[in-house]
């Protein structure tokens, strides 16, 4: 690609990569509260502020609930706002997540995915963001540190697109990505600034019948999210669903445009399909685990086994059509869940992938593996075992156990 620009290689961990991307994205307001394993993001960003490297207003709040509230308040005035959190911090934000998406405020938030108490655990799993599945935020899960950097920059473009106007969570696996040093190719400051651009505003009709930009502005007063009773609340929620549908188109578009300047893309932006088009046995997963699965797929392919991987990059919106198309040749599918839905007969990713495939003609066998809770390591040997289980299902055409626990002592 001839328009790809020269890039510097920096040694950054996932949190530092996120902070660096936020620094370059011309953010007006960062309001945050520290929590492991996200802390480095806020620490680094506060250094940028202290050193005068950014013009960002940095607000140290007394809690995560306040941090997101401050970001929402900044965002509805037309500012670009960013925050980061994890685990209990995200849980404390819960109420404001709905207010942010309901106000259509394009806040970007990085989540260093972490388990929830009790028992207390600071390590990586997806329990925190899966709990916020229905909060109206776009959810992007990244595979490595490079993608964490790239996705934060893309997230502003996706969130602020006037056909979308939804907040975005960029999830990076706690410690596995947040604290692991990798080489990261970074774009020049001016290139990122130009890519993210400035916020554009749709027009709305205010209470005086005047057409005004959709932001809180004393010169053009309007009110957002005050009250909607049974006669209108439903209509506003339907608009949010439409915005998610629009995001299914905008995310691939941003992925393509970003590839033109950086030379990097992540599948089509929604799903990252790895040898899955002709695969008979396939794994579906999110996040950093995909790196391990890809290494195992390489080994199996070398042995002539038709194995593949479908990594969901976005979980919200769920790319149903892409899941159906990419898994069309699969006869047995294993869905990996790094969180539990207690009493739900499998994890949330499993539920949704099965739901996506329900209307297809050829129903593959679909099984679920709960894995990696509280930061438990997942080895290539365990992934290989999943593919062996799938091969057995192919042979016997029979599923013995639908939901299994990978790496759990029985």
């Amino acid at each position: 690609m001839k328009s790809v620009v020269k890039q510097e290689v920096l040694a950054l961990n996932g949190d530092e990569a996120v902070a660096y991307a936020a620094k370059q994205s011309d953010v007006d307001v960062v309001a945050a509260y520290p929590i492991t394993p996200q802390t480095i993001i806020v620490e680094r960003f506060s250094e940028y502020v202290a050193n005068g490297e950014v013009e960002t207003e940095f607000v140290c709040t007394e809690s995560e609930h306040s941090a997101l509230t401050a970001c929402l308040a900044a965002s509805v005035t037309g500012a670009r706002a960013f925050t980061a959190s994890a685990s209990a911090g995200l849980a404390l934000m819960h109420e404001m997540l709905f207010v942010t998406s309901g106000c259509r405020a394009p806040v970007v938030m990085a989540i260093a995915n972490r388990a929830l108490s009790a028992p207390l655990n600071i390590h990586g799993d997806h329990s925190d963001t899966m709990t916020e599945r229905d909060s109206g935020w776009i959810q992007i899960y990244v595979e490595n540190t490079q993608e964490a950097y790239d996705s934060v920059i893309q997230a502003f473009r996706i969130a602020e697109n006037t056909d979308v106007l939804l907040p975005v969570i960029v999830g990076l696996d706690g410690f596995t990505l947040s604290h692991t040093l990798e080489n990261v190719h970074v774009l020049a400051d001016d290139v990122v600034k130009k890519f993210v651009g400035t916020r554009k505003f749709v027009n709305v009709v205010n209470h005086e019948g005047k057409t005004v930009p959709f932001k809180l502005d004393p010169d053009n007063p309007t009110s957002m999210g005050p009250i909607a009773l049974p006669n209108y609340y439903f209509e506003f929620k339907r608009q949010q669903e439409e915005a998610m549908k629009n995001a299914l188109k905008i995310i691939p578009q941003v992925n393509r445009e970003y590839a033109e300047i950086s030379g990097r893309s992540y599948g089509d932006g929604l799903v990252d399909a790895y040898y899955v088009e002709d695969a008979e046995i396939a794994i579906v997963c999110l996040g950093s685990t995909a790196g391990t699965v890809k290494a195992v797929v390489d080994e199996l392919r070398a042995d002539g086994v038709k194995a593949g991987l479908l990594r969901l990059r976005t979980f919200r919106p769920l790319p149903v059509e892409k899941i159906v198309n990419t898994l069309k040749n699969a006869k047995a599918v294993a869905v990996m869940d790094r969180s539990m839905s207690f009493g739900g007969e499998g994890g949330p990713v499993f539920h949704e992938v099965r739901h996506a495939l329900y209307d297809t003609d050829k129903h593959p066998h679909i099984v679920n593996y709960i894995y990696g809770l509280g930061g438990r390591d997942t080895s290539p040997m365990q992934i290989r075992k999943i593919y062996e289980d799938l091969q057995k299902i192919l042979r016997t055409k029979h599923v013995e156990t639908r939901v299994q626990y990978l790496g759990l002592r029985e």
Partner: protein, 92 residues
Amino acid sequence: MTSKEKSWKEISPAGVCWKASTQFLTGDWKTYKPVRDLEKCTRCLLCVLFCPDGAIHWKPEKGDIEFDYNFCKGCGICANECPAKAIEMKLE
């Protein structure tokens, strides 16, 4: 709902109000309405200050106050605070 109401495609996002709050007559929520005894009332205007809805107005031209029943929700704070016990809450 009724056909007069707009579809999700016709309304602004995020609950942006296309009508001013003065067009939503919240006074129809009330069960009890405040009624003033003009003899007892000393025009101290404490009720004007206490009304959480700004539904009691001081009319300087009349030298008197006026309840705005279009916005009075009937909470009874005025009756409770009135030092002259001049306000009674009556069932509508």
